[in-house]
Point group: C2
Chain length 153, copies 2
Amino acid sequence: MTEKENYIEQVGLFYEQYGLPKMAGRILGYLISSDSDNNSFEDIQKSLKASKGSISGNINLLLKQGMIVKHMISGDRKSYYKMSLNSLESILDSKVNSVTQFKMILETGLSFDLNDNSLKKKNLTKILNYYEFLENEIPLLRNKWEEKANNQM
Amino acid sequence: MTEKENYIEQVGLFYEQYGLPKMAGRILGYLISSDSDNNSFEDIQKSLKASKGSISGNINLLLKQGMIVKHMISGDRKSYYKMSLNSLESILDSKVNSVTQFKMILETGLSFDLNDNSLKKKNLTKILNYYEFLENEIPLLRNKWEEKANNQM
DNA sequence: TATAAAGTTCAGTAATTAGTGAACTAAATG
DNA sequence: CATTTAGTTCACTAATTACTGAACTTTATA
């Protein structure tokens, strides 16, 4: 196994921890470590020595999640893929989403506890406040980044 | 299925999305919606109608991840569990960790691309800057929360 | 020191998820 | 309009992960 192949496996394992199929992680590893932005389906499939079915499924998963983008080259009917840049801000947006979801879970759960004024309720309310805090702060962070990124150009 | 049982299943599914076993999620759902902070192993096991083995394994998983805490009641040799409060700040800490890990992945990956000055490298460097930004900002957010939480007491 | 209570461990099984490969669709080229 | 190319779909299999239940450890009580 070359050093690069080994790297690609590492990235696969890294993303597996976060719930993506290993193959999707390998594709990301391939895209990050390749020499160019024009990585065709075939390049990816041959390099990763995997079935077309698996590559197809995982590429579409990554596209749906906004982690990669597809682009075309005129006069060539292959599809090319690269890491997505527009996903930068959306990482924070999706965080807000899951924070909001968790807040709802806490709120619903607390409504089952009839015993108001309990220490337990007070503590879980603190957790709720924390998530509210995050829900407010993350969009500010997003703005801060956008400003910074614009100034750098 | 009672409304509460249904809620507990929902929480199980929610956490499953984020890579926890459904049973671990159910335990969290149980703890959030129960009437008190003194939830024994037996309470949890009986309520969730699951095996002792599964409850044991998943409780220990949640303890290890800092999502719940164990406490004892004197003169009683059962263990009791509740949602963890000290994990609030550690949620952000673990975010920093994964951001740092991902930065390393990008850096290693870029080192395989010999073609410097490529548009591709420029773009991935932008992603790298973004993660660096997050790495810096998240601890600030943590401080801001701590201050806020202290003032509220 | 036997008995019980509280939880752990682990082998086996169930359930889920990922990957393969072959058949297929759609579009482009000779 | 037959052929090739690019990618998709889906039934099957492989691999992984979660859960069960019974045997076990440890500590406490009669």
